[in-house]
Symmetry: C5
């Protein structure tokens, strides 16, 4: 899993039906690195340092075997000093 | 998921049957970065900033469990300033 | 999917049985980049620019769910100017 | 699989239920490289050099097909001089 | 698949049961690049140039659907001049 910081929410009105209404968040490994999009499964806010799971595990973690995610936030880190 | 920009459509006359007639698009993370090919599941046009899902999730997102995709466009981002 | 160029065929006499007699090709993203090995599912020749699918989709694309491939050529690009 | 060194344990009080109480460890390939988070399936301590498996294999290795891991420690290396 | 060179065998006494007694080998893409660990499914020796398969295909290639591998050697290359 990767350690990433939540930057902000992402709005995508035109998306496939199977994504449902799960919140999508922009995350990045560190200031200046390429942003990724993660599905939020724990309820976090911008600034949180979180654990993101990828690969096929991201789908179950997002709540269903056929959920179209390859990056899902599965935990908020209690204390993290990057 | 990755945030990518749609560059153009890609024509491949000689391809395997299971790809069907789904549109294939050239996408890239930013100007000058290596281009990738994504299957379009939402209907987007060149210039759009989109959400691309990879891993095994790309297959279901493309419409069928056995669709041969490892990168599928699942949403168009409403506003994105890279 | 990645856009790659076919360099040459690869001979591996000692290989696991499940690979069968499918042709293996050396491919690379551009001159000088690290070579990869892909299973040919469309019938291409050195010099062709092709679409390569990875992840679990590479297995089905190679013809069977248990085929041991993580990179399979699924289409030849009609025109490509890198 | 990757060869990584265990740095320390990671505490995440707010995490999804399916992660259970498995220990989460911060690991890295070498001093200064980006840290990752791995699920410990063998019982190791900070300073150990370990074998980490990724992809879908990380899930079974963590103990269950639906465990949300994409990086699991599957062995401690007896002697390793990086 | 990747083209890698076998460096040496790796000993891990403390490992999870499902790994069994399959030989683990240290492999690398070229002199000086980061070493990886691969499961040997063909019987190779240090110095061999081999084809390594990753992703979920590495599991079947290692002999069983639930074998915890994400990198398995599936063939020895007859002639390779890097």
């Amino acid at each position: 899993m990767k350690i990433m910081r939540v930057v902000k929410t992402l709005v995508s009105t035109n998306r496939i039906d199977t994504m449902g209404h799960r919140p999508l968040l922009v995350v990045q490994e560190k200031e200046g690195s390429a942003p990724s999009v993660a599905v939020d499964a724990v309820g976090c806010v911008p600034g949180d340092w979180v654990i993101c799971v990828g690969s096929s595990a991201a789908r179950d973690a997002a709540g269903a075997k056929d959920y179209p995610s390859d990056l899902t936030i599965v935990g908020i880190i209690d204390h993290w000093a990057p």
